[in-house]
Amino acid sequence: MPIHERSLIESERVLRKERLVIDGIDVSGDWNLIILPRTVEDYDLDFAKEIMESPDGKTIQQCYQCSYCTASCPVHNYWDDRYNPRHFIYLARLGMVDELQKRVDVMWRCVSCHKCTHRCPKGVLVEDVLKVILRVMYKRGLIGDYPSKKFDQFFTESVLEYGRIEDGELLFGWMEKQGYKIKKDPILRKPIPFFSDIPRWLKDMVSKPIKEGNISFIMLNAKHMLFHPRTKEWNKFKQVLRRVMEEEGALAKGG
């Protein structure tokens, strides 16, 4: 792929000289910028192969680097222009794992809006591919526990356990993971929002139905928080699901 990547040139390798004489000839002026060459030896060709093995990652090979995905991306346009889906795909295909690792602080920021996938003229499932790249990097220990990974894992394990999710558990469980002190009742170990140390917006949100006397809403959600909604015929299916996830290495490490 003969695409010139400005971001692959580190500033240490760019030399600028006011006066430059080579072989006795003065080449100052327009010739004052020199980029020192770099040999890349640590690329990992298995990286792209592993991505293509997953059914949702195999379309990575159709990419022709037109950058339509990046042009559409709201994270790139409104948040951080270091987030560049086209570039991540480029690096992943070449297996330049160390370059990907330099960008781990932004790589997880994809909000799954699917503008990239939608507009790709080559039929690359860009959003899926980016998530597969992250998944493979995580499996190889190239990226740590990034925030959305923690949430995804938390969510998925709740689904695995009960078959359904519950908004209160997700919200308060997540707040607890963020370091807020959530008070729990002594018997069922369920969160009690009002005595917990949570931010003001959340406290106000929870107390709104109480202030308005919206009793049926409170009852419904309290019931769900106490007795987690679950799918009835779940046990047998859960075992299969757990096994599949184990085979994929998708269960939390150590958990």
């Binding site: 799954s112 690359v124 998530k131 949430f151 209160g168 709104k208 799918t231 299969v240 699901l241």
Partner: protein, 318 residues
């Protein structure tokens, strides 16, 4: 009209049975009024939303295949989901099951192991809005309206996954390198980049749509609304400010996740003293319910954290 079917399987999703019950209740009201029928999918499981698919591929396929199998068992070939996330997940599974034979066979094998009937065909999933538009349509809404939403300026917020990506829901033989198959085009689908179904339904009920492009399909932070607060806050701010500055006095939503995200960050932005973010949000079915003559309590408007009741009272709608 009448391509999808009047009686379909209803996959509400976890959210609609908990914090977003207003959407569920108002959906049932609107569907009944428009002469359609939803068959509740008993004992369904979570679709995995936008989270599970990042963790496990096959697991997410299984979660959705189980729901599809339940629908087939009840004799349905069409599933309707009112949530963008749910309809997306089911459509995504549909795409992979349809285009990848290996995935299909593996999923069936695993379903059998888990005591679930294997799939002999793959049911199609539609978003509630698409179904309502195609099966009932603006004309029917107009006929049923007894209390027009006069003077209500609506910003119609569609969110991301209602129209995107077209591979999963409309032309799914195209991606994935399966070039020999002819792309299937879904005739009932809304416009990709300029969706208008919700605009037309609410306009038929007497409301006025404000100009809301391109924010009508801009992301609200979605699956990152809890894990990446900075980005979500900025996105919601852009959406709310565009709505307010274009003259909207309410935002109509069609996804419980978008709705929750908008309401949550609206309040947080207001606490921070950001300007022009105080537009309340309501589900489009709630607004249709009001137009059909139902009361505030019937459509559970009190459940909305952003409190749209004062705006509606002022206009004499609620």
């Amino acid at each position: 009209m009448g391509i999808i079917g009047k009686r379909v399987a209803y996959y509400p999703g976890c959210s609609l049975e908990g914090a977003s019950r207003a959407y569920d209740v108002s959906t049932r009201i609107v569907v009944k009024e428009l002469g359609l029928e939803l068959d509740y999918l008993e004992d369904y499981n979570c679709c995995g939303a936008m989270e599970s698919k990042n963790v496990t591929f096959m697991g997410t396929m299984l979660l959705n295949a189980r729901n599809m199998s339940l629908a087939l068992k009840r004799g349905h070939k069409v599933i309707v989901a009112p949530c963008n996330g749910c309809s997306f997940s089911l459509q995504r599974a549909e795409y992979f099951l349809e285009t990848d034979r290996k995935v299909f066979e593996k999923v069936n094998e695993l379903l059998k192991e888990g005591d679930v009937d294997p799939l002999d065909e793959i049911p199609h999933t539609y978003h509630l809005l698409e179904w309502l538009y195609n099966e009932a349509g603006p004309q029917k809404v107009k006929e049923r309206t007894v209390r027009p939403l006069k003077g209500l300026k609506v910003a119609n917020y569609y969110g991301c996954l209602y129209t995107r990506p077209h591979f999963y829901s409309r032309t799914y033989a195209h991606a994935g390198g399966n070039g020999e198959e002819r792309p299937r085009k879904r005739e009932t689908a809304d416009d990709d980049e300029h969706p208008f179904y919700m605009n037309e339904l609410l306009e038929a009920a007497g409301a006025e749509s404000v100009y809301f492009e391109p924010m009508h399909t801009q992301c609200c932070g979605g699956p990152h609304s809890l894990s990446d607060e900075d980005v979500s806050k900025k996105f919601v701010m852009m959406i709310l400010q565009t709505a307010k500055r274009n003259g909207a006095n309410i935002i109509a939503t069609e996804c419980p996740l978008c709705h929750a995200s908008l309401e949550m960050y609206r309040y947080r932005l207001m606490l921070e003293g950001i300007e022009d973010v105080d537009v309340p949000a309501a589900y489009f079915t709630q607004l249709l319910g009001l137009a059909f003559g139902y009361s505030v309590d019937d459509v559970k408007l009190k459940d909305n954290l952003s409190d749209p009741i004062p705006v509606l009272r002022r206009l004499g709608i609620a």
